[in-house]
Amino acid sequence: MSRGARWSVLAVGAAFGFLLTVSGLGDYDTIHDGLLLENPYIFGMMASAMAVAFAGLAVLRRLGRTRFAGPLALPHARIERRHVYGGAVFGVGFGVGATCPGMTVVMTTTGGLYGLVVLVGLLGGLWLRGRVERRQRQPLSIEPLVPVVRDLARE
């Protein structure tokens, strides 16, 4: 990875972690109330994130290239059963725990130490899925499955 690319990833990752934390969604009750359709915060946040990203990507598409990794290649993958099945399993975890892989980090750093328990489960779940795929002699799922990051990986 080139120096510029490394610093870019560091900056974006830090900003992302910062914003997730100040959103207060590391707190069970906020996401839970959202899923009870009683608090619009999570929907406002998701929708505005998507809208801004959609608009930003329209600009990027016009440029057609990235700063450190060659021509722009956005993901575009067809729908398969695993997206529905995996999404449903993920949704059960999301519903019961009112958290997700990013929010677990935020929960822990803001003092919700049960977040570490969720994290252990998360790593276990990722591993278990890999084990099942290996038993079924499938190629291991290594996201994203589209060739978005090949250029970067080659550096």
Partner: protein, 165 residues
């Protein structure tokens, strides 16, 4: 782990929760920036997956671990700038369940998140934000599925517990 009155605030600059119209567009810009700078789809489950890659004998893209470290660092900075950090429980779920029941439940919650994210090829960030913003059909379907299931599960829990959850 009950809420205690004592806290740990280094700076306390950020008071409570910032409004969604700041955090939402902010994370949207993060998604755009990662695509535009390094051609990568921002995703947290992929970053966690990279940490178990050595166990499975494959090499993750080098940016994944950098991203995870930065994510944790950014979150710690925000926690220090924010309201006092108090060791606390798990909201209404820890009021309802004693730790001996809560811990297995949370292990299963994490397990479902990890298993489902890998099966589907992404989570709330990878599919939900980055993939949907790019208009990728798989991401749109995955996101609609998990949000619908999560709402149904939550409403069911609320009904079963007589409104306690």
């Amino acid at each position: 782990m009950r809420p205690s009155s004592k806290g740990f605030a280094v700076l306390g600059w950020i008071d409570g929760q910032l409004p969604w119209w700041i955090t939402g567009p902010g994370v949207g810009l993060c998604v755009v920036a990662l695509y535009g700078l390094v051609n990568a789809r921002l995703g947290v489950s992929g970053a966690w997956l990279a940490t178990i890659a050595p166990m499975e004998g494959w090499r993750p893209e080098p940016w994944r671990k950098t991203f995870l470290l930065a994510l944790v660092g950014g979150s710690i900075v925000a926690a220090l700038l924010g309201p006092p950090v108090v060791v606390h429980g798990y909201g209404r779920l820890s009021e309802l369940l004693p730790p001996v029941a809560l811990i297995p439940v949370l292990l299963l919650v994490g397990g479902a998140l990890g298993y489902g994210a890998r099966w589907a090829g992404g989570c709330t960030s990878g599919h939900g934000m980055s993939g949907c913003a790019a208009g990728s059909p798989d991401s749109l379907v995955m996101t609609a599925t998990f949000f619908t299931v999560a709402v149904v599960v939550t409403l069911a829990l609320n009904a079963v517990t007589g409104g306690a959850l």
